[in-house]
Subunit: 297 residues, 2 copies
């Protein structure tokens, strides 16, 4: 299959995700207008939409309808967006640039950024619990629980806490991996599983998809560390070199860049291998894994 | 029914809520330990537990099992607790005292307070979507959605945003009411409805309970404004007189204290009236309404 075909598929999902997000966020003319403006600012018009792409790729494989997947894609992307808004705040990473634009607390103010993150998280759960999108309340409830577990103190938010505690410290590779499995990995893994849950052919492939999701989550972070060390701010759309400036342990600081790249190649090979038994070898998931390694921002 | 009986009932619910909250929060020895310690610090060992009391009162009336109501009580209390942690942060109300203890960002640090609030919100949705507690996934899913709508940008978080925007401004009584219906009212109303949803005799009383929930939400805030103006820090367990110091519009600043008290009496009378058609005249809900008016903190 050609690269062009993947590019078109990806652009199509990104576009429909943008439309779905715009429809799922309250309009700017609904009170409180400034909060709704900030929520839309934080979410719309940027981002690679890696998690929505994973939702759709896994969902297509499981035979789910694209409209159903749109809701799930919005929910995971809003969780991701909320975490970025809070992570950028002065008391956390104190960053001024995100997706090439001023961060929410810079463009609006700190209090608005705090409430924006809060309300985006709630909106994610509202979308996923909306009774309209899946005709199986029992499965849908399990999906809400899965998203909550992936996002909370033993998932993404917990990973952020470990990240904070590790600044300026020497940590082992095991500790670094533990942090990333939570901070980035949990939501990426959940994206794959939630997409698959929307289809009817999910059960036989769940184990493979779960292993794929875990590998791809770690892979994403290893590549992120390499990009942060190597790339420039204009390309990334966020401040480059921050990890080193803040003395954050990364795969690059721990292993050196050549070995971090080897690790990325190895994780990619493992991820492709777990997909082999799947239908059509799970084309889009294969392509996405490769995309995650070769992305430039 | 005697006051003593109500006091005993209330103490019983508060106690079982404390036990349920302790069981529903991750233990301090689970990583990330500092985050879990902060989550428990923010939630346990304090608070009037007004929302859990409303959950149980409405739930008892609808014939729900106390164990089922415990889960719902925890979910609403965690949403309330998360909002307090974030509301106390320097970029919001900048308060150092809550429930007689240093606020989370004072006792820990700002970043931990931010993540604590985030993770408490997630935990609320995790508890409410746990498939173990209600044998009716369709109803449970509606409950998750109801909690999300009550908490988000068109509910509690939206009310906080309106509150922020109103500091130092002249606002009308209608605007003040609009703010409070969102900021405090939405979650209090949701507590009543969520409790009732756990029972099997809910449908005929839903309209009355909804009206009661709305009235009691507003009543709670009017009394809060009077207490903030009248009481002292030691009694309240949080900094008294902050509204006036921060030039926040309140029912006292807008109407004066005597008319604010009249309004509270009037709202109480209305709340008791809407309960009249209900079974046993909804004893606990009546008592709770009276308690909310006569509380000292």
């Amino acid at each position: 299959m050609s690269t062009t075909d993947f590019q078109q598929w990806m652009a199509g999902i990104q576009q429909r995700t943008e439309v779905a997000l715009a429809a799922n966020l309250p309009a700017c003319d609904i009170a409180p207008t400034r909060l709704h403006e900030a929520m839309r600012y934080a979410v719309l018009g940027g981002g690679k939409r890696v998690r929505p792409l994973l939702v759709h790729a896994a969902g297509e494989l499981a035979g789910a309808a694209p409209e159903t997947l749109d809701s799930v894609a919005c929910a995971v992307e809003l969780i991701h967006a909320y975490s970025l808004v809070h992570d950028d705040m002065p008391c956390m990473d104190d960053d001024v640039l995100r997706r090439g634009k001023p961060t929410v607390h810079v463009e609006f103010d700190e209090a608005t950024a705090l409430l924006t993150g809060d309300a985006l998280q709630t909106q994610a759960f509202q979308i996923l619990s909306d009774t309209a999108f899946l005709d199986d309340p029992s499965r849908q409830l399990r999906m809400v629980e899965l998203l909550a577990r992936a996002s909370g103190s033993r998932g993404m938010a917990g990973g952020q806490a470990i990240d904070l505690a590790s600044v300026g410290k020497e940590i082992t590779r095991e500790e670094l991996e533990f942090m990333h499995i939570h901070k980035t990995g949990a939501l990426i893994r959940a994206s794959v599983l939630l997409g698959a849950y929307c289809g009817n052919q999910v059960t036989p492939m769940l184990d493979s998809l779960d292993r794929y999701g875990k590998l791809i989550g770690l892979l994403f972070q290893v590549v992120d560390d390499i990009l942060d060390a190597r790339s420039d701010t204009a390309t990334l759309g966020k401040t480059a070199g921050k990890d080193a400036d803040q003395h954050k342990p990364t795969y690059v600081s721990l292993l050196g860049e050549p070995r971090a790249r080897e690790l990325a190649d190895d994780l990619l090979a493992q991820a492709l291998r777990v997909l082999e038994p799947l239908d059509g070898s799970a084309l889009r998931l294969r392509e996405l894994a490769t995309f995650i390694v070769h992305r430039r921002y």
